[in-house]
Assembly symmetry: D2
Homo-oligomer: 334 residues x 4
Amino acid sequence: MEIVEFRPEREQYAFTFGGVAPVRKVVPGTMLRLWTEDAFCGGIRSTADLPSTSLTMPFVNPQTGPFYVEGAEPGDTLALHFAGLTPARGYGASCTIPLFGGLTSTDRTATLQDPLPERTWIYEVDRDRWTVEFQAAASDFRLELPMDPMLGTVGVAPGAGEVRSSLVPDTFGGNMDTPEMRAGATCYLGVNVPGALFSVGDGHYRQGEGEACGTAVEGAMDVTLIVDLIKGGGPAWPRLETDDHLIVVGSSRPLEDAWRVSQVGMVTWLSELYGLDKLDAYQLLSQTSETPLANVVDANYSAVTKVAKALLPQSTAYDGTHQQLREAAAAAGQ
Amino acid sequence: MEIVEFRPEREQYAFTFGGVAPVRKVVPGTMLRLWTEDAFCGGIRSTADLPSTSLTMPFVNPQTGPFYVEGAEPGDTLALHFAGLTPARGYGASCTIPLFGGLTSTDRTATLQDPLPERTWIYEVDRDRWTVEFQAAASDFRLELPMDPMLGTVGVAPGAGEVRSSLVPDTFGGNMDTPEMRAGATCYLGVNVPGALFSVGDGHYRQGEGEACGTAVEGAMDVTLIVDLIKGGGPAWPRLETDDHLIVVGSSRPLEDAWRVSQVGMVTWLSELYGLDKLDAYQLLSQTSETPLANVVDANYSAVTKVAKALLPQSTAYDGTHQQLREAAAAAGQ
Amino acid sequence: MEIVEFRPEREQYAFTFGGVAPVRKVVPGTMLRLWTEDAFCGGIRSTADLPSTSLTMPFVNPQTGPFYVEGAEPGDTLALHFAGLTPARGYGASCTIPLFGGLTSTDRTATLQDPLPERTWIYEVDRDRWTVEFQAAASDFRLELPMDPMLGTVGVAPGAGEVRSSLVPDTFGGNMDTPEMRAGATCYLGVNVPGALFSVGDGHYRQGEGEACGTAVEGAMDVTLIVDLIKGGGPAWPRLETDDHLIVVGSSRPLEDAWRVSQVGMVTWLSELYGLDKLDAYQLLSQTSETPLANVVDANYSAVTKVAKALLPQSTAYDGTHQQLREAAAAAGQ
Amino acid sequence: MEIVEFRPEREQYAFTFGGVAPVRKVVPGTMLRLWTEDAFCGGIRSTADLPSTSLTMPFVNPQTGPFYVEGAEPGDTLALHFAGLTPARGYGASCTIPLFGGLTSTDRTATLQDPLPERTWIYEVDRDRWTVEFQAAASDFRLELPMDPMLGTVGVAPGAGEVRSSLVPDTFGGNMDTPEMRAGATCYLGVNVPGALFSVGDGHYRQGEGEACGTAVEGAMDVTLIVDLIKGGGPAWPRLETDDHLIVVGSSRPLEDAWRVSQVGMVTWLSELYGLDKLDAYQLLSQTSETPLANVVDANYSAVTKVAKALLPQSTAYDGTHQQLREAAAAAGQ
């Protein structure tokens, strides 16, 4: 397997999907060993570093990429299998940011109240225990939490000539912030432009479902992924597959629309896999759906629909791409 | 422990929270052995029984109760511990109902399209295997699914003199349709009227998160619960506690508001339990929240926020009421 | 024309739709001369009177009624023609109320910020100039505004045995807070229970569309209305007719659902009046709709769809009921 | 006054805000005489032309521009005064488009129903009577409606390096579809990039508030506008000023968030103009707001908040820019 390593210099960070020249061309089947900076561009290093002084808007959520995938054409399906996600720093950081987050007024859920104040928390990483430590700011409370590394942002260039901020997810993926984007998952994205031009970033050492305050335990990440390409069949919205689940992610507002998108996407997928008519698939989903929210903080919210494979008859989505990539990763020692 | 058995006659079904005379008075600490009819009033017995002909609106979702709890006063906390939920029939039923459900237009998400057609599915119960069987209508597809009995509807009489349909959840609980309402859970509800006047119903043998098509695997249920009363401390929105999780349920529209309610409720609860200020509790929740949706189909949607006790320091909510009721149930052979 | 006068004593105020015994029985064709207390139960009389100390929850928004209309049966259409609305006090009052309003967090759009503070404004009424005067609290700014009296709350008893707070509008009407409910308007409501049991209240001397802060220039009102009954044809949602407009009001959340309800209601009405198929009516409405929002502050928001009669061919809705009531009012000297 | 005329060739159409090289550089004070193609790129010419066959996605809603305004820097305020809007064709066209519109399921409000069918209506223009004629497709119904020309789409290049579809409005303006964008209005937009790079398009000969079916009476337009630049003071969201009203447009989802944005924007503006504190401005707006919806069909909905100048004390927004441009247009014979 071809292996490509890439660690972006600061001036190579991509802050948009689309509108950026590719940093590398890769052929399907390539393994990429990447490094991703955290969403703060590394600017939050202590509890004294606050967003208003340590961030330079709009230069947040830097992406590593984009990568041009040889042979990828609009309508195809890009498969990204995450073989490994490993924290690349000894700490993670999280903040409240004025006018951002799910339990505060924002630029869109606009109110006349004063915004919640900003505050920074630093989580020390313990690699041996595979934990991060929460330390309260206003009391002595401390709590060790398991690490559960994930990538908040995975996407391709959007269609229709658009260039979109890395902060707002949509049909092209982007900043979905779903904890399902773990090592072991394969993400399927519809290709919109020649070469697909995918990027990844926004490592989280841990995140709750919904990402209420707007930021996870943010940290630089060492990412190992395998790129694959399936001709045709590009899904309307991002899909994921793990050993255990089929997953569809919808991103819109209000939150019920994001959920509707993910549910209709799963009805479609179940219909394809099992030859069900749409009402039968709707019924089956109604009794088997799991719905861990991804983000309820961005300009588009992201909702997840999952179905456990253990409940379903054997089938192979995308001709077994996930299983093949899983085995390829194992063969490569991941 | 005092034990009260009650199986309502058809004319005793309650179709509202509030506005119904109590069927029994009970003292805190009583175990109730109840039977609940299914949401269809038993009218859907075969795939030929369709909602338009087999249901008599508005007489759906019948509740067993209400029960007057001696000593309960507005502002108190009613605790209902579900010691056992057992399917009381050999089949469950689910339907699509025109203009009802999450992936169709409704009387509120009103569109000009024809509604989705109605269809009924019957799930045979296998008690030995503890499964129900899904049978597709338009193909030969069959699938055995694990049973996971729960109550869709648990609530008290609302405040402000209101009488509310058993179909629409709100601060008083009601038709939240969360799969978390399983045997082993304790539900805490704020008391609004003397005696609390709680009812339960809407047994589901299994339900996906969100209850997309509007109905679960609906079935009559044998319910064993223990009633307890905590003076004062009535929560603004329903809370649940299991051996493994703390849970808050919010019900409103749009779905992000239901989620906000449940998240703010959990921030409040974590603050109470661990002496955290609200920003620290917000941060902690942001990294630990689980969010299995309850319903995205009723006039109010219900969103759930859960935190795993395994992640949190030891603490006792409501002075250990859940654990005490758990033990009392075990002592009573449940 | 039979004339009934009624001014409720304080203990006769109705705080719900449904659940209250009728104060009078009236026959269709009766003119009612009523007095309605303001939404604060008269408790806000100076800028020193603040909601937290001057209101006794949930006893706000008192209604005058209900009235039992002889012959009204479920499925019928109640017509209420407002012949005259005259301010009954020399001042109106408006307040910000913590956790209530459109530009603050609320119990449903829950955030962790401190709520906006409460403040009271008193508007002096000048009957000769037909104005009220706004006086800023934090500066010397004063502004004379035209009076435009309306009723915020008009409704019938809901169906399905419900009793609903006078604060939350729905299919039965209630607290819609549309400035269209002026003298000269006829309101059509679907009857849900024998006698219809309608009430009115919540006089506003003036209100902006949306009622952003949650309260209008609230004031006691002298109300003259004529009751009429049309057998059958009860609309799903409230309709209004004026000399100049056809109007439908939808109440739900999110606001687009309230709007959808009102738009679909108008498509239906235009189809009925002009024999249009639904796509033609949709197209016609798309080019003629006016949409003055009613309230974006209650647990259900209310959106209004209007079409100017001047744009439409002559037609008679409800067999000319509005015109007949208009003439009857004029004949009675209103 | 310098006058620049520009009529784009087909290959010069801009389909995005941002990402397009300017077609002209202009100095502040220039009058532009432009021609804009309709949103269908002229492809819908008869009722037999249907969207699925006559449109080539994503090449819809072509814009005329962008124009580089000399001296415009990020943070400045671009003022565009529309001196004249005149229909440039003898007919307008409107369509239903599958999965687009406010009263159908869409790619975001996703349901499992079949979409509404597509249909085209052609409106003949009568320049003498200044009307368009609606002709029903399914019956003989015809109706003459007054013309009321407006531009659906007016915007500048977005910030943060984004390139955005001309179909979706946001902070940069774009496809707001408000009927307030008539001749006589001045639109104020915050500048995000050097030169502002504004474009205009999407002429409507008439449109209802909300644009329910997703398309207005679409038609090519002759547009005369004057460009002006105010250093600094760029508003967060688009503002408009007419002889009669101050207006703020917000674009987001759900619709209440679009409304909140426009209301908070108006509270800010009133505070600036009259020295009111935010609670006083909130109160004043609550009693004076008008809210004609713009669009409830795009990926972001647009809500409008208007206040009548007749209600307010004299004041000069932006140092009287609107009045000056009005007079300049008059002096130029517009």
